[in-house]
Chain length 282, copies 2
């Protein structure tokens, strides 16, 4: 595949980790970082995530590919104006919700230059210092509404993700947002709520710290995730997230009832049903 000059807009966890891959897999001939946060810009240079820092407009003019790794509310605000400014550059976003960004430039004359993607990877940390080597490998990336993208833009984007080691799935934006609510967004909400439950009820923090076992850590670790990233995701995917959240609260109420009633058989069945997740998660 042809190496290209690439700008990464938003050099935090997601953009920074992609930058490392673009360098290491020799996908970029030059990497330009764009970030509204001065400390992120400095850190991105210090950590060698990018070759150079530019302002957004300068970067747009200087590169072949623009990768957007910013919170999804900022993304939707930015897209129409950005698409006005490009010529033949490829624009790729990495947002966790897809319908709002796709819809934001649905009828734009340059729509074909844009490829909507969601690489299914992240950690609970944020900022350039959270960027890690080897991210995205062996994970899925979803490409949404692929037929609306120009074939050269689509093919180059697919090649980029394949070279990083991701496996590609195509899906309509609407279907993506529904699935993402189940497999990602709800996990974050349960983890945030669990953290608040424990912090609310348990004031003797030393006790938690000492007692917290591996099980607690794994269920609560997502609660460290960045609000600036997650609030817009939940808001943009409001309907799907609320559906799944209501179902989840109903499921928790079943556990509550079975324990309240001391209904061993029902509780055994609920846990037995949950065990079927083994079919999905090894």
């Amino acid at each position: 595949m042809q190496k290209k000059k690439i700008a990464i807009v938003g050099i935090g966890l997601i953009g920074g980790s992609l930058a490392i891959q673009l360098h290491e897999k020799k996908i970029s001939s030059r990497l330009i970082g764009v970030d509204v946060d001065a400390s992120h810009r400095e850190l991105a240079m210090e950590l060698d995530l990018v070759d150079e820092i530019m302002e957004l407009d300068e970067a747009i003019a200087a590169v072949d590919v623009i990768v957007l790794a910013i919170p999804v509310d900022k993304l939707v605000d930015l897209m129409p104006g950005l698409m006005d400014k490009i010529d033949q550059q490829i624009v790729i976003d990495l947002g966790s919700t897809k319908s709002p960004v796709v819809n934001s430039i649905k009828d734009h004359p340059k729509r074909g230059r844009y490829v909507a993607t969601h690489p299914m990877w992240g950690t609970e940390y944020s900022g350039p210092q959270a960027a890690v080597r080897g991210a995205y490998e062996n994970k899925a990336v979803i490409i949404c509404n692929a037929t609306d993208s120009d074939s050269d833009a689509l093919e180059w984007t697919k090649s980029m993700y394949k070279k990083i080691g991701m496996h590609l799935l195509e899906m309509e934006a609407k279907a993506h947002d529904l699935h993402a609510a189940y497999v990602s967004h709800i996990s974050h909400i349960t983890s945030f709520a669990l953290a608040n439950t424990v912090l609310e009820k348990e004031r003797e923090e030393q006790a938690i710290f000492e007692l917290a076992s591996a099980g607690f850590e794994s269920t609560v670790r997502l609660a460290k995730s960045n609000p600036a990233m997650w609030v817009p995701i939940f808001m943009q995917n409001k309907e799907n997230v609320l559906d799944v959240l209501k179902e989840h609260i109903a499921q928790l109420n079943r556990f509550r009832e079975s324990i309240e009633m001391e209904d061993h058989q029902y509780l055994l069945k609920l846990i037995g049903d949950a065990n079927k997740i083994r079919r999905i998660i090894k």
Copy 2:
């Protein structure tokens, strides 16, 4: 410390993993396995977890220390009769709830021979094949109602855990059960309920499998845990578990409301509060 002949009653995940440590840390002169399940007995020998298999009564007569690693309902049934049969042996249990087992032999003439413990370690797997090397190391073990144990029994038990590499905490059984509801039991319920939510709502399992990212895996992995172990824990710790579960549902409802009302500020605050878990979990 003096090596002893030790019987492990229940050679599954918990008992089997302890057996490996007792062998490797040279704490046992001989290890005897007891299990009601014939396939567990065979596997425990095949996997070299124990030196020999015996029936319970035979084992009681043959050893210096009896370690009980069975579900907490079975434990409470077994204890009074077991204590009737011992002479100077030390009896140690590893159960996840402590008040019921402690109360089951509260006034027993041999009470002093018993040490109530809860090593804070486990995985979502079960059976002898799930036993792992290096388990328990650098984790906390809680010793409950220590002053009710004879000093020789208590000291030997503490030495055993220290030699394995655990750090010791002492606590009343009642306080233990309260803390355990927060840092362990509720995590399992949220994970079971999350698995059921996803399995209920999402019929296209291939989609989940492909999309499931690291976040989903970590929050849902406890949902694979063994019902035979967890149903009795929830039942025995009913009051504490229900208190925490109600609080957790209330917390989830706050997330639901903030998303429904599109109240960005409230949702930012809820997630910001959850982020404080960083003080506890690095």
